[in-house]
Subunit: 355 residues, 2 copies
Amino acid sequence: MKTSRSRPRIRDVAEAAGVSETTVSHVLNNKGRVDAATRARVAEVAERLGYRPNSNARGLRSGRADTIALLLPVGADLALSHHVLAVDFYLSLTMSCVEAAFEHDQALLQLPPLRKLDDLRRFSIDGGIVVDPVPEDPRVAMFQRLGLPVVTVGRDITHPDDPWWVAADSAASTSAVLDHFVAAGARRVAMLSVDIEWSWFADAELAYVEWTESHGHEPMLVLARPDKLDSSAAEAANRLLDLRPDAVYAPPQWLATGLLRVARERGVRVPDDLLVSVGVDSHLARTSEPPLTAVDLDPARTASEAVDLLVRRIEGRESEGPRLIPVALHPRASTMRADVHVTAGPATRRRPARP
Amino acid sequence: MKTSRSRPRIRDVAEAAGVSETTVSHVLNNKGRVDAATRARVAEVAERLGYRPNSNARGLRSGRADTIALLLPVGADLALSHHVLAVDFYLSLTMSCVEAAFEHDQALLQLPPLRKLDDLRRFSIDGGIVVDPVPEDPRVAMFQRLGLPVVTVGRDITHPDDPWWVAADSAASTSAVLDHFVAAGARRVAMLSVDIEWSWFADAELAYVEWTESHGHEPMLVLARPDKLDSSAAEAANRLLDLRPDAVYAPPQWLATGLLRVARERGVRVPDDLLVSVGVDSHLARTSEPPLTAVDLDPARTASEAVDLLVRRIEGRESEGPRLIPVALHPRASTMRADVHVTAGPATRRRPARP
DNA sequence: ACTCTAAGCCAAATCGATTTGGCGCCACAA
DNA sequence: TTGTGGCGCCAAATCGATTTGGCTTAGAGT
């Protein structure tokens, strides 16, 4: 009896198919023993009626919400964070998480900055993805205190044994960039980064220092202050150029573009006097003046692996260890001197060893 | 009796306070008749136990999900959309929506591009915010077919009587920009936009044409193709510069920066030979070469008004009409000629008339 | 023919919060 | 003393799907 009710319930399907609600449920969830013919008939009726289970009822019974949360990194200064986040990478990551969650039959909830534990308790979720955790990340801690599964994008350096994270292979990408510089003839290879504790920055720094040591170079590392983006970028860039490098790897986008600007003001030509590379690819990197050689972090892949890992954890399965996302280097004009185009060529296909 | 159960139920609170579940519910929802003393005691116990109602149970009973959906604009080409969206505006809008929803005790679900009606049926939501609707937007139609409340950010031009939308006052911002050009001495004011049917673009175009008519100017309007962002931007910019304008309003960010690049290549100096302004503010606009005069669309305000309007609609209240968000013009070097700095000054405070 | 098994189906309990309808009890008026 | 009404509280029904524990019935085995 389907009256004017807007949405069909399982009972409507049961009546229309001439079976019990139990049988309908069994058919729809592939459980129990149901005759093949009955199964087909019930499925057809459910389809015809456009039946969708009420997720509240289902969640109440099963204890699951079929919803996961995404927590983008947010610092104290909201507006500032928005600017840091306004990079193609985060947007792509978010949208890809949404897609990936959808494919796993999960909905994706975006959470605001959490102040207290109750803020998190308010949401009905099965687990969460925390992007760019800081050491002893309070957001991760909240999830753990509530017994909720978490996965991080980027690792928490203070918990080296935690296998529940996904991240771009930043050691590999750093050496890919630095080797690319050397192949293009650079001798004084510097790094311009920022004083933030996210592992993406920390790992790149570490990889840079190790690389300089193993290559017998003197490290030239300048860190910008994490606040007042525009002015601190210029200040740091100037400080770095005073060291007279001939190649600079600036992982954060705003520092790379800031460096290009300062270089132009100081009459340093890119790529002739200075090679520059950025650690994340974007429309801006492709269209800056000159276009910037960039590392493609593959946000779509990162997102799908993160969601996959989280679902795995929710289901109580074991992690087979952290997942490193392979990255690709896209060489562009900012590292292509006219006289070394040929030698720079092979670097195009340079990729980290991992599959 | 609170055993090892991870989360307290209403029954736990009732037992601990020595009352029935009914009374607890009444206290927590401010309903029914409960003695003030009992009320205080129950509230205290609930607080002490850290009780939070199970949202599935609550939703099942009440029929509400306390969750709203956000649908960012997405075209056929996913990667392309991501680039269009990778603007500070959308990120800020999203994060502000999350915050605003939180303040209204709602969770915010981010939805993937919807292919069929069932895609939407899967989610348990009370309503949705559709950003940048196209004419006869299919996403809006899906919501309506399911009887779900919708609010759009940007209006659907094909439904002029629908009061359920929020948008930046783009007529006001367009004339603010154009008047600013004239105040800075421009005579040949052009517009560079894109051939997309979102109302934000359409309204700006319309406002431009009307402005030229009322000022006795000849309209100079060039529209870029909406695909292949990088190349079409350059192509359109070149086409526009062939018309020899002395000021260009390019609402989309990628066209404004593309124009700057092409102008530089052609030896057109900004702002000396050409004034340029962009329709949305961003870190990129502030740090481009030269910094771009931009319209601040106030995404935070837009978000909070949109969420507010949606909640209003969900609650079954009437709309008091669309909400126009006031915008501000931020004049920067791209429209400040050395000789007109003084006259350009007042434009700083130029704002649309609406409150 | 008689048990025994298992296939096929269903009734009822369950998840946790909300809401309806009503039961006592006390105060006050008749 | 007896009615009347309101206050404070509660038992039970309800929301919709899932799951447990049977109950039939058909077919196999002896």
